[in-house]
């Protein structure tokens, strides 16, 4: 219909043009082009004006950048759901400083460059006072320098690579770091499983995986274990038979795969098909139901370190699991737990601050001590990293089973 009008308009135009003088003609053309091109812009800018004027006064804006789509989408969606649950709880209790918390979630599609762009947008366009974000260390590392430069506190709930908080004094984390996670798994392998010959299979494209593999290896060698093979793959690969053939002939007792669940599922499948019977070990990147869907029986019995275990009997965990189940209809995974704690700690810091400005929130974040979270007791150290424990869980059926608590 619209195009029909346009056609008529153009026809009329042509008729007119023949009769009109050149200057008028120019005006007419300009007019038409302006009409066509400027309308959407005008509308959009008016919308932005409206939004920014009516939302700013009575709410505290907090940004969240996450992988809502892409191969690690379950990380982002779990974290976002948990953050929104924390927001609803705070708002239901009357908000902070008499204002409601509002979360603006932007999708970085799992790409580091987009993560940086989204954080820029949150700061410059949406004018948030603090940012929550990213599970994957690679993307937090890409985005954190922007928050640091603009002096907006950024709290990552789940990025475990140590380099993340070294970026500056506005970057905080509410989970453990890879040296700790690597140490936990190395200790567990040698002391609990009594396995000494280990092969490492790392994702060379991920800061998280490389860091975790290095720390695991260092600790394992320190304790007298041996690394019989240390190979790599790239996230996005589907064929791992070449590496697995090498791993098989090295005859390890355990294979440490500190990757993300999509690849780990496929690796486990192909490892079992290649005849590798060694125990499979990993880190918190395994945490997703997709792992069991893709890996099926192959991941059964594997061990990985995680932030919390849903079958814990701690009353805080029990009530969190119950509330999350009521709201979203499923058991919260590790990322949901860390996301919830990260958001709650940030809200606590905002509440402790005299007024919700980025500087004061930062100061309060640095002073968090003995916060009782779902993932354990959390304190900030001078490096702005959380000091807290980890758990080791085992894959059983289509779920995980609590094995051991490890404190720092």
């Amino acid at each position: 219909m619209l195009s029909l009008f346009k056609q008529i308009e153009v026809k009329l135009d042509r008729k007119l043009r023949r009769k009109l003088n050149p200057s008028l003609k120019l005006k007419l053309i300009l007019n038409r082009n302006l009409n066509l091109n400027l309308k959407p812009f005008l509308k959009a800018s008016a919308g932005i004006l409206l939004l920014s004027t009516c939302t700013k006064k009575d709410v505290i804006l907090v940004g969240h950048f996450a992988t809502m789509t892409g191969s690690e989408a379950s990380f982002g969606t779990s974290t976002d759901e948990a953050i929104k649950m924390a927001r609803d709880e705070v708002n239901a209790a009357g908000g902070i400083h008499g204002k409601k918390i509002e979360i603006i979630t932007l999708d970085d599609q799992g790409r580091p460059e987009l993560a940086a762009a989204m954080v820029k947008r949150l700061i410059e366009q949406d004018k948030v006072v603090a940012i929550l974000g990213e599970v994957a260390s690679t993307r937090t590392l890409a985005a954190a320098p922007i928050a640091q430069k603009s002096k907006i506190p950024l709290v990552t709930p789940s990025s475990t690579n140590p380099k993340v908080t070294q970026i500056g004094d506005y970057i905080f984390r509410t989970c453990f770091i890879d040296p700790f996670q690597g140490t936990v798994m190395a200790n567990f392998t040698l002391n609990n499983l009594k396995l000494k010959k280990v092969a490492i299979f790392r994702d060379i494209k991920s800061d998280y995986s490389v860091g975790l593999a290095d720390f695991f290896k260092a600790r394992l060698l320190e304790l007298g274990g041996t690394v019989v093979e240390d190979l790599s793959y790239q996230s996005g690969d589907v064929d791992f038979n070449g590496q697995l053939t090498k791993i098989k002939s090295a005859q390890p007792e355990a294979v440490f795969i500190p990757g993300y669940y999509t690849e780990v599922g496929l690796i486990a499948l192909q490892a079992r098909q290649a005849g590798i019977k060694a125990a499979l070990l990993g880190g918190d990147g395994w945490e997703s139901t997709k792992l069991y869907e893709i890996g099926k029986d192959a991941v059964e019995g594997g061990y990985f370190s995680n932030h919390y275990s849903g079958d814990s009997t701690d009353p805080i965990v029990v009530s969190f699991v119950k509330k999350y189940k009521e709201k979203y209809g499923r058991v919260p995974d590790g990322m949901a737990a860390t996301g919830y704690d990260g958001a709650k700690i940030l809200f606590q810091a905002i509440a402790n601050a005299a007024s919700p400005t980025p500087e004061l929130i930062r100061d309060q974040l640095a002073m968090i001590k003995d916060y009782n979270g779902v993932t354990g007791k959390i304190s900030m150290n001078e490096k702005r990293d959380a000091v807290k424990g980890a758990v080791v869980v085992q894959v059983t059926g289509k779920s995980t089973k609590f094995v051991q608590n490890v404190n720092p």
């Binding site: 379950s74 790239q234 589907v238 038979n241 002939s249 499948l269 893709i294």
Partner: protein, 300 residues
Amino acid sequence: MQDFAQHFINGLSLGSIYALIALGYTMVYGILQLINFAHSDVYMMGAFCSYYAARFLNLNDSQGLPSFVVLLMSSIIGCAILGFLIERLAYRPLRNAPKLNVLIAAIGVSLLLQYTGQSVFGDDPKVFPTVLPNVPVLEGSSFTVHSLDLVVLGVTLLTLLVLNLLIFRTRIGMAMRAVSQNMRVASLMGVNPNRIISATFILGSALAGVGSVLVGLKYPKVEPLMGTMIGMKAFIAAVLGGIGNLSGAVLGAVLMGLSEEMVVGYLSSTYRDALAFGILIAVLIFKPAGLLGRSATEKV
């Protein structure tokens, strides 16, 4: 040289998968001198076709040949229709335009399919139903051959044989060869070039459909960007073998699979793609037209 036999089998199996996709690239190039960048995304769509067919028919757990055939047919039909539509809607209107325009249209179609896939199917990886069991069928002292390795290799060789018969022994094959040599003269001889080109696209896309089901069974993960890397490797395999040459595409693909596997096995797993591609560049320096290609002066 331990594990050489196992690495060889792995490489051969990986190469056969590349070959099925490479055949589609090479067929379209042979007839239109067009690098059909959308081919790898047709392959992706094929995987989704069979994935949804399996869900619709509840085939997830039933293992066996009938459900494999159903998946294969749904993927082949889906891909063939998509290939036909792409040629009809995107490439045919540009038949007399410069080659570069068609190439850009191909890139456009490729992106369109990728992003449509992301918004329609969602970005999270889906799990492909493993309807055929992947069990060891041949076990030596230092190697194991799995059933899917044999299926993939068998399907690839069979496809190559059938395609060769089709192109060199049938009337439509003769017409294809005529159109590829000179479209205008062929049309003077009573060949309808548009119909022949459509048939080529349908055939090439159907091959991508076959490939997608085999890949889905072997690596059971389906996602909208799954075609990108495998498509690039298959394309390079086609160039390596001499683009436009069917046997060349298969040879190039097998070499590609083997060199990747050997790089992982004996050099470095970190530089897998870099070294594998480096070896291919070296081959192309000495044989610019590809291994089985004839060097011809390009009319640009």
